[in-house]
């Protein structure tokens, strides 16, 4: 299965360029540049778009027999870039209609050989053709060592909101089930049935999220937790029973049981180990909810999410007490969107916090947690995730950093949001997507 992810900023740049009129060419052409990654079993490939280069006005050849023809200078530039950077290149153009686009006879006869020649210049990368329509896309991929083009099965746009340009047909339609949430949008059922959601940490927060996603109708869920339930978890872990605590049932199994009870059709990927020990199953997710302890753990999750263009929703709760004051319980919900401000940019992760945590050898210890606060944070995070995936409010267009004060019951945008600098995140540039690039010094 080949999945292509395109940052919304680049998708917009492509569309804006390709729909501009040209003096004589009937359509415009550009090249998307990509980095890839393959799963250990070789069955999955992720193609991540790192940038876009338009063909310049004077690089078109006046040929009325085709929509557009470009000269050798444009092709040389593409070859130069793929040789220099190791990126893949995809010829991009647009067919201005709705629905799934298809390559024309000329496209097939001319573009495939063109991209084969670019592959000859850079044989270890994926190259191919990306054809857009107004609301869909088709990607043909020529992978290293292969001689024929294969279609990507999923193409998604990553940003506010998420876009689904191409996906395998979902077979999980159930109108009755969705009847009370049809306001989420005409295609919301399709989206909910298609997206694969990862939950890392199935304790107090993650167990609520798993339950809610099952109610909403998500079919593809990946559950990551290597822990087993203990008696001290019963104050908050949704679905856990006293018998589970006695037997030491895996938290991921409990979540899977809850989900299956609500939606027997759910396809659950239960990962009872650290996500780091099987990262391909995390990379396959379209959205990750992180319900982990500790700042370094959050950073590690964000790093992998950013590398594979996966939005990451973080929740956390803490209780502080000083002197004779009553305890203060507070938490956060953060949406870390690839390309946008990261947990460091927004000031949530700081060197001081990481140093303090390291001084305790990274052990978070038995932090106080309670079911109602976990539930509020989890529900809010699910709300953010659903808005991102369905765009039902049509208003989620920027970073989310909500702070929750459990003592007052208030949830509000964190004040740091007002001081965010504009521009791309300097910590996670798109040039570092996909498999890491080690360079000789």
């Amino acid at each position: 299965m080949t999945t292509c992810r395109i940052p919304r900023s680049i998708a917009q740049e492509m569309r804006d360029d390709l729909t501009r009129p040209h003096a004589f060419a009937a359509e415009r052409i550009g090249f998307a540049f990509t980095r890839s990654s393959r799963s250990v079993d070789g069955r999955s490939t992720w193609i991540l778009v790192t940038g876009y280069d338009p063909v310049l006005d004077d690089e078109y050849i006046d040929d009325p027999t085709v929509g557009a023809r470009i000269n050798s200078s444009a092709i040389r530039r593409v070859m130069q870039r793929v040789i220099t950077t190791g990126e893949g290149a995809f010829h991009v153009h647009i067919h201005e209609h709705e629905g799934e686009p298809g390559l024309s006879y000329v496209d097939r006869e001319e573009l495939r050989p063109l991209m084969q020649s670019i592959r000859n210049a850079s044989p270890t990368s994926d190259h191919g053709i990306l054809l857009l329509s107004q609301d869909s896309a088709r990607m043909e991929v020529l992978s290293p060592g292969t001689t024929s083009f294969k279609c990507a099965s999923h193409i998604s746009v990553i940003g506010y909101p998420m876009g689904l340009l191409c996906h395998e047909e979902s077979r999980h339609h159930d109108e009755e089930r969705f009847s009370r949430q049809s306001f989420l949008g005409e295609d919301s059922e399709e989206r909910i049935s298609t997206y694969r959601i990862g939950i890392v940490g199935l304790g107090g927060g993650g167990s609520h999220i798993a339950q809610q996603l099952a109610h909403i109708g998500f079919v593809h869920l990946a559950l990551f937790d290597s822990d087993c339930v203990e008696a001290s978890n019963l104050n908050r872990l949704v679905g856990a029973t006293a018998a589970d605590a006695r037997k030491g049932t895996a938290k991921a199994d409990i979540a899977a049981r809850v989900i299956k009870g609500i939606n027997p059709k759910a396809k659950i990927d239960v990962v009872k180990k650290r996500w780091q020990d099987d990262p391909d199953r995390l990379k396959a997710c379209d959205l990750i909810f992180g319900c982990v302890d500790g700042f370094a753990e959050r950073r590690d999750l964000e790093v992998v999410a950013r590398r594979y263009l996966i939005p990451y929703v973080d929740i956390g709760l803490d209780v502080h007490q000083s002197g004779d004051e009553p305890p203060r319980m507070a938490g956060q919900i953060i949406l870390s969107m690839p390309g946008g401000p990261c947990l460091t940019c927004i000031g949530f992760l700081t060197e001081t916090k990481l140093i303090r945590e390291a001084e305790r050898y990274g052990v978070a210890g038995p932090r106080p947690q309670v079911v109602w606060a976990n539930g509020i944070l989890a529900s809010t995070a699910v709300g953010v995730g659903i808005d991102l995936l369905t765009d039902w409010t049509r208003s989620l267009r920027g970073p989310v950093y909500l702070s929750y004060d459990s003592n007052t019951g208030e949830i509000q945008p964190h004040k740091r949001l007002a001081y965010l600098s504009s521009g791309p995140c300097p910590h996670f540039p798109f040039s570092q997507l996909g498999d890491p690039v080690f360079k000789p010094l």
Partner: protein, 114 residues
């Protein structure tokens, strides 16, 4: 914070196969099959040097592709952390490093094994 060219050249001279990469704004140096100090097994292992504050709260860090055995008992408190798409292991070892060059930082981390 950029590492001065002469300090990078020093690493390159010492380890011709050394590679560099960046993740989350932090530079790393991969030294394939670095020879370990005497008495350490295995005798050579891939290491990843992070010569500045890493993302886990240490002022610098030396990660190993696997835990190595030494006479000295060390606190291997990082086991399978994922950096640059590979799982790494590290013992807790802090050095007072203001002004130290990456080569010196590497040497001080390795000294913990002796």
């Amino acid at each position: 914070m950029a590492i001065p060219e002469d300090q990078i050249a020093e690493l390159k001279d010492a380890f011709p196969g050394i590679l560099g990469a960046e993740e989350a704004g932090i530079p790393y140096f991969l030294i394939p099959q670095l020879g370990m100090p005497n008495g350490v097994t295995p005798a050579a292992v891939d290491v990843l040097l992070c010569p500045m504050a890493d993302r886990h709260g240490y002022p610098s860090r030396l990660f190993f592709a696997q835990q190595v055995q030494s006479k000295k008992s060390l606190n291997w408190n990082t086991n399978g952390v994922r950096i640059l798409e590979r799982n790494w292991f590290a013992y807790s070892w802090k050095i007072n490093q203001p002004g130290l060059r990456p080569m010196q930082i590497l040497a001080l981390h390795l000294k913990a094994l002796q």
